[in-house]
Symmetry: C2
Subunit: 286 residues, 2 copies
């Protein structure tokens, strides 16, 4: 397995694969790799000839009150996992390789960034789209893999790629969950045992929403009110949002008449958790 830390070495390392016509797959990560990332890498290995994992904790997508400084780092553990997963190249740049000191360019995806997490994390999605655009320009992948857990991020990246005619295919991979349903996230490590048990209520609330909508409920306000009740009954929690939105545009839906994304962001203690479920009202629960 090759490990590169600068742009020129990365492009040089990939030139041979490109010349040989091997499709290049990129799995962009912020490190602290877990089962969710491993599922992205497995999908990439099934599809492509050359699998690249980028590991970069991107400062521009963290706000001043976000957890950039305490975001987990585990370089040797990450490299070991990549090696075991059959990754061809790990791109592990320092901040200076990614950003010039006086960089000013930003990529913005408009309305899609203004709902859900947008108002709670100003500048976050511009940071994400700008760094993903940059990673795509460095690696020039044929295909890139993102988790459905970050559903708004995924919708925004898909839209950026479509709008800017980027020559890369975006593959969405299902959220990987713990046995009790909690979506796997690097931030779960920050939960105490009690908070960890409480956190299962998020997936419980999403499943309740799915059941209600498939059972015929069309009023998004009724759905989210029940979700709020389930989450707050499980313990002390601060809700950023619980929303029903269009899965492509991320705009709120009042009456459910087509597949929707039910999404939430909830603080348990000092840890902010997000999760979501795509629900098709046309399919009734078995």
């Amino acid at each position: 397995m090759n490990v590169t830390r600068d742009i020129a070495s990365t492009r040089a390392a990939l030139a041979a694969a490109r010349q040989a016509g091997r499709p290049i797959a990129l799995v962009p990560t912020m490190g602290a790799l877990h089962a969710g990332h491993r599922s992205l890498i497995e999908a990439a290995r099934r599809d492509a000839g050359c699998v690249v994992v980028s590991i970069f904790v991107n400062p521009t997508q963290f706000g001043p009150r976000d957890d950039y400084v305490r975001y987990p780092h585990d370089e040797s553990g990450d490299l070991k996992q990549c090696e075991e997963a059959g990754v061809d190249l790990v791109f592990f740049p320092p901040v200076e390789a990614m950003y010039e000191k006086d960089a000013v360019t930003k990529v913005n995806v408009g309305r899609l960034t203004e709902t859900l997490c947008g108002p709670f994390r100003p500048g976050h999605f511009d940071g994400v789209t700008t760094v993903v655009n940059t990673l795509f320009n460095i690696v020039q992948p044929d295909v890139a893999y993102f988790g459905q857990k970050d559903a708004q991020q995924l919708a925004i990246i898909k839209r950026m790629v479509r709008d800017l005619r980027m020559p890369v295919r975006i593959v969405a991979c299902p959220t990987v969950r713990e046995p009790d349903g909690l979506a796997i996230s690097s931030r779960n490590e920050n939960l105490s045992d009690a908070q960890r048990r409480q956190a299962a209520s998020l997936y419980g609330a999403l499943c309740d929403a799915g059941d209600r909508i498939r059972g015929g409920e069309r009023d998004a306000a009724v759905v989210t009110r029940e979700m709020q009740r389930i989450i707050t009954e499980a313990g002390p929690a601060r809700v950023d949002y619980i929303s029903v939105v269009d899965p492509e545009t991320m705009q709120p839906v009042a009456n459910v008449a087509a597949p929707v994304l039910v999404a939430l962001a909830v603080h348990i203690g000092a840890t902010r958790l997000i999760d979501n479920l795509r629900v098709d009202p046309g399919v009734r629960s078995p």
Copy 2:
């Protein structure tokens, strides 16, 4: 010469050249080709194996009061010029091939877009950087050519490419001028004979600025005041700006201590003309 109008055909037409390792050069234009464009195409032909000219009058870089609807079009003349100039591929897309109806993604280059033409053409440079980014994603050139006449556009595109680590080299080509010094532009066609004669004062003012700075003048305000005098003495003109700026950052310079860009935008009648001159204070006039 190949002519394509959609993305898939363009990529297919370029696949062979790319496979053969022929460098791909892009000359982005808005059509109505003239000697300035021809100089870009000639530079591309000298450098690269495969020369692509894109012709697209980009609506998103025109404001509501700009001249989008009366911007000159000459498809058959443009194709003939490209053929004669030895262009390999002309990419001539309709608006729908470039933009989805609900496109929302924008590329912004921050402070560089806020000076000179920026305040007079809100959104213009976002339109430019977004469409150039899109053209680069469609054509995937190794090198792209831009005229120094649009100096702010050039600086902004260079910065975008650098900031986003785009895998393309930007080549700046010197401004092509009429015998009396007027920078060649598609918009010159809109000038009456009298306005055309008057317009030579713009280059006269730039040369005066160059002489003064090389002669020892360090006060940018003195330089621009004399330029204003030269231009207004030549006839009725509305000045958007006459400025001395840093050639990379486009920020105003008060005291000239390093190479500067002297730039202006002036309306003569209904026609807005821009021009600029790079001046090195260290080199005295012969």
